[in-house]
């Protein structure tokens, strides 16, 4: 007879096995990382440029330059680009963040030559036409204004600008009138400086063939740009001294919360430990914050926390939208959980569970070519080496509850955290 009260025996995950990327160089020295993986006959090719907000002189110029790359080139109109990409069943994704800007092509292998030729045009010959620019700016501005009606947007804007200071590229915020001030000449200038051969890396994942690299080299191996003007900017943090800030929204039925502080990048020796500590606190469905604030009190639909690394700095943040009527109780409970983290050792059972969960999650993060590509992107964009994730795994295996309590005392001291509330409290 089956004893349903007893959990089946299980194995702990001890190591990580994943395909290695092959690194080659195009004729023009652009490094290409090739990952052969997956069962389907497709490819994701990502062009990575150091062209994020970090490098912009004028608000919005980084993100709008990126999103307008496909709006017309020397040889193709916006309409022709769209027709071609759609006809070959491909997708283009244009993304930019605080540090990087990327162009990703998702394509069937059988149409690689045709689709990569379109990407070459977009990357090397964009002209930023006036008419398409105006349409895009108008759409983006409206979306921006819509986002500003959401409590979560209000809270995260205030949080990021308070943690880094508005003069820091990680804390700088765009405002509605910045959309009106931006000109196509700003985009052209930004493009010329940063979308260059010597500022580009290419990441390829999917089913690879003998000629895959050659097709990419034929399209992108020439000298399609001048040298970049990149300078290593330095910025100073200018963290707000206000402990708590309320952005009042009278009609809110929920209040958005952001509680946290600045933190470090992936290169810091305490980074992996902080990820473990954060998971205990709010990094998974069974976390302490979820158990207390959602599953025990029912104050929210969801609560979580992140240790978010960027290239130069990072931040720690607790994120939730809570019933506005119990907003203060929720904040008190959050601080209670933070204090416990610094004053009581995590039990062996909870720590084992969290370690196993993280390792399982890591394993899942290497499943399939798109996930693998995301993992390699972390290595490439942070100038880490191949062994990074293996070392991360080793650290998870060895860290103990004493180490974690010390990390909490050092980095999550409640006196150093700031709370942002958007809504009512």
């Amino acid at each position: 007879m089956l004893d349903r009260t007893k959990q089946p025996d299980f194995k702990e995950i001890t190591n990580l096995v994943y395909p290695k990327a092959e690194i080659k160089k195009l004729d023009n020295e652009i490094p290409v990382y090739l990952i052969d993986a997956g069962t389907e006959d497709i490819l994701k090719i990502e062009f990575i440029f150091e062209a994020g907000v970090w490098y912009q002189k004028k608000p919005l110029s980084s993100s709008i330059t990126n999103s307008l790359l496909s709006s017309g080139t020397k040889n193709l109109t916006e309409q022709q680009i769209a027709e071609k990409i759609d006809f070959y069943g491909a997708y283009i994704s244009l993304q930019s963040d605080r540090d990087y800007a990327t162009i990703s092509l998702f394509t069937l292998n059988k149409y690689l030559k045709e689709t990569i030729a379109v990407i070459k045009e977009i990357v090397s010959n964009p002209i930023f036409p006036e008419k398409e620019f105006e349409t895009e700016i108008n759409i983006k501005k409206n979306q921006f204004e819509l986002d500003l009606t959401k409590v979560k947007t209000l809270a995260s804007r205030k949080f990021i600008s308070s943690v880094f200071g508005e003069s820091h590229p990680y804390g700088t915020l765009a405002n509605a009138d910045d959309f009106d001030k931006l000109k196509t000449s700003d985009l052209k200038e930004f493009y010329q400086k940063y979308y260059t051969v010597d500022n580009c890396k290419i990441l390829v994942a999917g089913k690879l063939y003998k000629d895959t690299f050659n097709i990419i080299n034929d399209a992108f191996g020439d000298n399609w740009s001048i040298k970049s003007f990149k300078s290593d900017n330095e910025f100073r943090l200018n963290t707000s001294s206000k402990k708590e800030q309320l952005i009042l929204k009278e009609d809110a039925v929920q209040s958005a919360l952001r509680i946290g502080c600045n933190m470090f990048s992936r290169k810091h020796p305490d980074y992996a430990g902080m990820q473990v500590l954060n998971t205990v606190l709010g990094g998974y469905f069974g976390s302490r914050l979820m158990k207390n604030i959602r599953e025990d009190k029912g104050y929210t639909y969801g609560i979580g926390s992140v240790v978010y690394p960027m290239k130069h700095e990072g931040y720690f943040s607790i994120v939730s939208e809570v019933n506005a009527k119990v907003c203060r109780n929720a904040i008190d409970e959050i601080y209670k959980e933070l204090s416990i983290l610094s004053s009581e050792k995590i039990s062996d059972e909870e720590l084992l569970l969290v370690k196993n969960y993280i390792k399982g999650d890591l394993l899942k993060g290497f499943d399939g070519p798109f996930n693998l590509s995301e993992k390699y992107k972390i290595i490439i964009t942070n100038n880490l080496d191949e062994t990074y994730f293996k070392k991360f795994m080793d650290l998870i295996n060895t860290i103990n509850s004493d180490n974690l309590m010390k990390l909490s005392q050092k980095y999550l001291d409640t006196n150093n955290l700031m709370s942002i509330i958007a809504g009512k409290c």
Partner: protein, 413 residues
């Protein structure tokens, strides 16, 4: 081509197994054939509330999540109008823990009062977060009852109103469980580096002794044919006016489903699609404009929704949509245009199989609706559609007498 094996236990549980040798992870997906369409009009939101309660402990296992996390697994679930879907991913070596957990909550729940009380609150907060405290959040709470007068698709999965969730009792919960949660009302699919031969004894071990149950008769009212235009105007604190046009269309398994889907793609899938190119990019009448289908099991909705540009009157914007529809009906689509949307569907079906969890879900949901193998034959059904089919379904669907229009206006304007 996704190859799979299918077998059924004596108690009626259907099991589908697909081997993917490239991954160390397995996905376990379980679809229960119950959704908001099975609810009664005075107890709406129940299928979804119930989904939350499925995590509140089962008859022999007080906590669902912790044992799974302990073995490196993750899980979640979702409910829609037709089905409730639960899924797990975990390292292959620990697959047995997944079966142990899923089978126990199929056997019976703990039915704890505390869990019911907390999950009522959590779901009410979900209602607020997603439907009330978001700009445009209540659109489907308004549009569904406008388009459906008899069929239970007239309410959203979250429910008609918060009070239905507040008033849920333990007896309601128990009745719902025994009426819908049973091996003979579920499909289990497993994907990973495993074979049916390995999986079968495990499934027998954990699910084999769960008794077959009597499933509640589904007396789902058929929606009468709409014969005249319907409209509703509301004003809300949002930055822009928005228009939603909901047209009745065929059911998911109908022979016209694929042509209807391609019609929506011709109109708005991709930057080169008709509505995007003409009304957003060229005429600048809209900031956003989309056409999409709901893909529901029973007769569904074909929706065109758009946000007119600043200074554009919503009625003028609507006329421009009608003009494009009439043009399509009058002049048809050319072969190249149809080929383009077919190519796009073909690649999106391939991209939908990029990880094991998607494959497990697609197999399970297809089997629940009809047959798991549909995921392999789906593309042929799209490829068979002809240009004249697009025009024929456009005439049928995009008819003003078949349309419910919601004018969702900004108070500020």
């Amino acid at each position: 081509m996704i190859e799979f094996e299918k077998f059924e236990l004596d108690n009626g549980l259907k099991v589908i197994v697909h081997q993917d040798k490239t991954t160390p992870i397995v996905a376990i997906n379980i679809v229960y054939n119950v959704g908001a369409r099975n609810e009664s009009a005075n107890k709406t939101g129940f299928a979804h509330l119930f989904e939350h309660l499925m995590f509140g402990g089962s008859i022999n296992i007080p906590n669902y999540d912790a044992p799974l996390q302990m073995v490196g697994g993750e899980n979640n679930a979702f409910t829609n109008n037709d089905i409730t879907n639960y899924y797990i991913t975990l390292p292959k070596e620990n697959i047995e823990t997944g079966f142990w957990l899923e089978s126990d909550r199929m056997l019976s729940l703990a039915f704890s009062e505390k869990s019911l009380e907390v999950q009522r609150n959590v779901v009410i907060e979900e209602f607020k977060q997603r439907y009330l405290n978001q700009p445009y959040g209540d659109v489907y709470l308004l549009l569904r009852p406008l388009a459906y007068k008899k069929h239970p698709y007239q309410w959203a999965t979250i429910g008609k109103e918060i009070s239905h969730i507040e008033n849920a009792t333990m007896q309601d919960v128990k009745d719902f469980f025994y009426a819908h949660y049973a091996p003979n009302n579920a499909v289990l699919s497993v994907v990973g580096n495993i074979t049916a031969k390995e999986i079968k004894p495990l499934v027998e071990k954990y699910f084999g002794d769960i008794e077959k149950r009597k499933i509640a008769e589904s007396n789902i009212a058929k929606e009468p044919k709409q014969t005249e235009p319907r409209e509703l105007t509301v004003k809300r604190d949002v930055p822009n006016d928005t228009i939603y046009k909901a047209y009745h269309m065929c059911a998911r398994m109908d022979k016209d489903y694929h042509a209807s889907d391609l019609l929506s793609d011709v109109l708005s899938n991709g930057d080169s699609s008709r509505l995007t190119r003409k009304l957003i990019k060229e005429q600048k009448l809209f900031l956003e404009l989309n056409a999409y289908i709901m893909g529901s099991r029973d007769e569904g909705l074909f929706i065109i929704s758009g946000k007119p540009n600043d200074g554009v009157n919503i009625k003028d914007a609507e006329k421009a949509i009608d003009k494009e529809i009439n043009l399509l009906i009058k002049e048809g689509v050319d072969e190249q245009e149809l080929q383009k949307v077919k190519n796009k569907v073909e690649s999106s079906l391939i991209f939908a199989q990029m990880n094991i969890l998607n494959k497990a879900m697609n197999l399970g949901i297809s089997e629940t609706l009809n047959d798991a193998n549909d995921i392999n034959t789906e593309i042929d059904k799209y490829l068979k559609v002809k240009t004249k089919d697009i025009v024929r379904v456009a005439k049928q669907i995009l008819n003003p007498n078949n349309c419910s229009t919601l004018y969702y206006l900004s108070e500020k304007k």
